[in-house]
């Protein structure tokens, strides 16, 4: 997790196109300026960053479903619940699944776990053509380094 770059997801553990699910890992850093302010003497991950983590897992799920051809943008969150504090150095399991595949938008249900439930939410993402080539290239590179590309290929192989 590179908090200051808003890169929340470190690796994809599993992706299942048929089930419309993804399991990813997000490693909370031991130190970050975020923790210096939130909070002094009691560092915990801000809830909005946990929502962002679920949104990014949902985004990578959608990218996996569409074969990295169209870009999901986070546009709505509902029913977000935070059940446990997350401190520096925590390894998070992030799960997302497709709740509804609409026309130009997708709704997901996502949750984060670490020794039990951490948080969960329902997220809406708008699906658009890539607005910039640099973004598309960068995401393809990230998909490869975090294991999404391989997971897509594995899922496709299992489906045949």
């Amino acid at each position: 997790m590179r908090l200051e770059y808003f890169q929340m997801i470190d690796s994809v553990v599993a992706f299942d196109a048929a089930a419309g699910t993804i399991h990813a890992k997000a490693n909370v850093p031991e130190a970050s300026p975020v923790f210096e302010g939130h909070f002094p003497g009691y560092p915990i991950m801000p809830g909005v960053l946990l929502i962002e983590t679920m949104a990014q897992a949902s985004g990578f799920l959608i990218l996996g479903m569409n074969g990295l051809t169209r870009m999901p943008f986070f546009m709505g969150v509902q029913k977000a619940k935070f059940r446990k504090f997350v401190g520096p150095g925590t390894v998070l399991d992030v799960h997302a699944r497709i709740e509804h595949d609409g026309s130009g938008f997708t709704v997901t249900k996502a949750r984060i776990e670490h020794d039990g439930p951490v948080c969960d939410a329902e997220l809406t993402l708008r699906i658009m053509d890539f607005p910039a080539e640099e973004l598309r290239t960068s995401l393809l590179e990230r998909a490869a380094t975090m294991g999404l590309s391989q997971a897509i290929a594995t899922s496709a192989g299992e489906a045949t």
């Binding site: 546009m75 709505g76 595949d101 609409g102 026309s103 130009g104 938008f105 709704v107 809406t124």
Partner: protein, 93 residues
């Protein structure tokens, strides 16, 4: 059409907090009811789920942007309901 309209009006009322009694079939979702694109997506999500269909919002938007269809064709509620009825009929065919 009446039952489809009733469901659509109920969904709009619940999603956009517009009093149900103010919603009529002749109304334009954007111009008359002031529903924005984000709220409209929530409405489409709810209608997709309720009717078990996939409202082709992207296709409709492209048709309107290309001048092939008027905004009223899809956003006046009685027309929206007619299109939903067509999608339901296709699903059941």
């Amino acid at each position: 059409m009446s039952s489809t309209f009733d469901i659509v009006a109920d969904v709009i009322s619940e999603t956009s907090e517009i009093p149900r009694e103010k919603i009529t079939p002749e109304m334009h979702a954007i111009d008359d009811l002031g529903i924005d694109s984000l709220d409209f997506l929530d409405i489409v999500f709810a209608l997709d789920k309720k009717f078990g269909i996939k409202i082709p919002l992207e296709q409709w938007t492209q048709e309107v942007n290309a001048g092939k269809a008027s905004v009223e064709e899809y956003f006046v509620l009685k027309n929206l309901c007619a299109h939903i009825d067509e999608l339901i009929a296709k699903k059941n065919a």
